[in-house]
Point group: C2
Chain length 189, copies 2
DNA sequence: AGTAGGTTGCACACCAGTGTGCAATGAGAA
DNA sequence: TTCTCATTGCACACTGGTGTGCAACCTACT
């Protein structure tokens, strides 16, 4: 019975990923269902987006706490995190675009916990001089994983290749020296 | 006679900067004019956006060629460029948001020349081992100045402070070592 | 006074998307 | 077979934005 609902959610992620401005009709059609049916499961577009966001938050916090538990050094943890979060970021790339505009506030509030975890990680790295301190932890973490999302977003074909590039780039902007960054990603390639 | 037109353009930059989804009506009101008048100067919303973009391109290419002419090293040129382009990026921050969505294609095509200049600069840096080579020049340049715009965008009050942070961050992700980056921005602070 | 041009204030047509109501259908479970 | 429930196919109301047409207006300049 949840079968249709799940399919709608999956397809919505796809469709919105290609075009964040796609309407309920487009999503319905792509899911092989009528628009009215979508409204049967999600009373409003906002409900759909919110559900999608909740999914993303759940997956990302899971990944993030996992990565946090495993390692000691902040930079290694970051690498671990990006590696695991990459497919997720790619799937939910739509949220990057949707964060601005109508649903921005709703999404932002749901993403709050993730942002905090991320900021904590960066802060930890800054405190131990693993990460640079030219920006406050909150902003730096936003930019760093914003870049990861941006690369995941720009990538519409070559998935596995650019995860490495995304990791390196984010490490660099966190202030990790290039040599160290290369060593870190080389470790687990 | 162009007075009204110019005011509309200036105000549009403001209004759209705050809310990229603002309508012609909002812009008109903010400019102290009636919606109909705006359509008198710009037959369509696209015309308005295009004009705005053309302005931005003109200013940015001017700044970029200036910076290119002045220095020899790619990283120093980059610093020079960011310093000069910062106020411009802040003014035209709306284009970052508008680049996705309806007018994306139009904006992107107009921005082409700027992208090329930027990519050339990064390429030059990569060829001389000043910049990292983990990403192709085209993409790296996009990300680096994307970050600058992102910081300019997130900044809604403290203007002069974060230009420095933006420069450092972009240098880092270009692969410039932190010590060198700090020296470069220290030079001209 | 007369004229030209930018501006105004409507009204209008139009479009795309959202969300709702309701009866009909169809397939699977009791 | 009968009951149930998701799905369907319309029709509908509503919203918010775009772009146009046109007469009136006001101001500056001649």
């Amino acid at each position: 019975m949840n079968e249709t609902r799940d399919r709608i959610l999956d397809v919505a992620l796809d469709v919105l990923g290609d075009n964040p401005d796609a309407g309920m009709g487009d999503i319905a059609t792509a899911a092989g269902v009528v628009r009215r049916t979508v409204y049967g499961h999600f009373p409003s577009r906002l409900d759909l987006v919110r559900t999608l966001t909740e999914r993303a938050v759940a997956e990302m916090t899971a990944v993030l706490t996992e990565a946090n538990a495993a390692h000691a050094d902040a930079d290694a943890t970051w690498v671990e995190f990006i590696a695991r979060v990459w497919p997720v970021a790619h799937r939910y790339r739509v949220l990057l675009a949707l964060r601005r505009g109508e649903y921005g506030e709703a999404i932002h509030s749901l993403l709050g916990p993730v942002d905090e975890l991320l900021a904590d990680l960066v802060k930890r790295g800054q405190d131990r001089d693993v990460f640079a301190q030219h920006l406050p932890a909150g902003m730096l973490s936003q930019l760093a994983y914003g870049v990861v999302f941006a690369i995941a977003d720009s990538d519409r074909s070559t998935v596995p290749l650019d995860a490495r590039a995304a990791t390196i780039t984010s490490l660099l902007m966190l202030g990790v020296p290039e040599s160290r960054a290369l060593a870190l990603v080389g470790d687990q390639a």
